[in-house]
Amino acid sequence: MSKQLDIKYRDKEYKLEFTRKSVEIMERQGFVASDVDEKPMTVLPALFAGAFIANHRYINSKLIEEIYEHMRNKKELIGKLTEMYNEPINALLDEPEDEEGNAEWTASW
């Protein structure tokens, strides 16, 4: 099951997710994935709006901005949206077949 964000705003429910098509549309509109690391808070509104494309394509952009303004905990939101945005590409990447010989890695955060 793909990662989804459920939002309830003014008694309406919105299901946010990224599909390969919605990522393609965002990139066509000029969205650059590397900006999420370099300038996360700058791209957050665009990332948030892009998450509506899959299931709420024709929603008014002013409404999206309004919902965004009322979203709490934006710091956690950027992390979740980034994970969701990368899911379509990560699903295309194979895991190494053999157990032996793989590189071990740990993160410092």
Binding site: E17, R20, V23, A33, S34, D37, I89, A91, L92
Partner: protein, 161 residues
């Protein structure tokens, strides 16, 4: 985020040439590069572009299972062909004596699971028991006939004597 990606999925350019997946600049390029592969393993356009983002993982696993099963079936077919050739090989021998016959081909398929093997063994045991019983009954009848005949001869001899 780094646009370079590492993948072992097959990637093809429009001309059909293989492209190194680490040279993709955008996610879209990678999506289009892998699209033919997922079409070839049964994923539809709509599922790939608009469906659940994690579906390709399961399509790849399903394709691997399909290939493993096909490989197993072909191996099994090879085993049956090998058996058949072994059975008829005596008659292919040009130096075989006249009247040489082929060995009968196996009368039922191989047991592929433990339960099938157990069933087969039980059936064979029942069959062998029935054969043995039949043999014993015939032997008993023949023996009884012999004894009866002998008794008749002895009794007849005593009466005459």
């Amino acid at each position: 985020m780094d646009g370079e990606l590492v993948s072992s999925s097959p990637s093809y350019e429009k001309e059909g040439e293989y492209k190194n997946s680490s040279s993709f600049v955008t996610y879209t390029e990678k999506f289009y590069a892998d699209f033919p592969y997922y079409l070839s393993i049964g994923m539809t356009y709509d599922l790939y572009w608009n469906g659940d983002a994690s579906l390709p993982i399961y399509y790849r696993k399903a394709d691997k299972m399909r290939n493993d099963r096909k490989n197993q079936e072909m191996w099994l077919q090879g085993a049956y062909i090998y058996d058949a050739l072994c059975c008829v090989s005596p008659i292919f021998n040009p130096l075989a004596p006249k009247g040489t016959k082929a060995i009968p081909y196996i009368s039922e398929p191989y047991a592929l699971t433990k339960e099938e093997a157990k069933d087969k063994k039980e059936k064979n045991e029942i069959k062998n028991d029935a054969k043995a019983l039949n043999f014993m009954e015939i032997f008993m009848i023949e023996n009884n006939k012999k004894f009866a005949k002998k008794n008749t001869e002895n009794t007849g001899g005593e009466n005459n004597g």
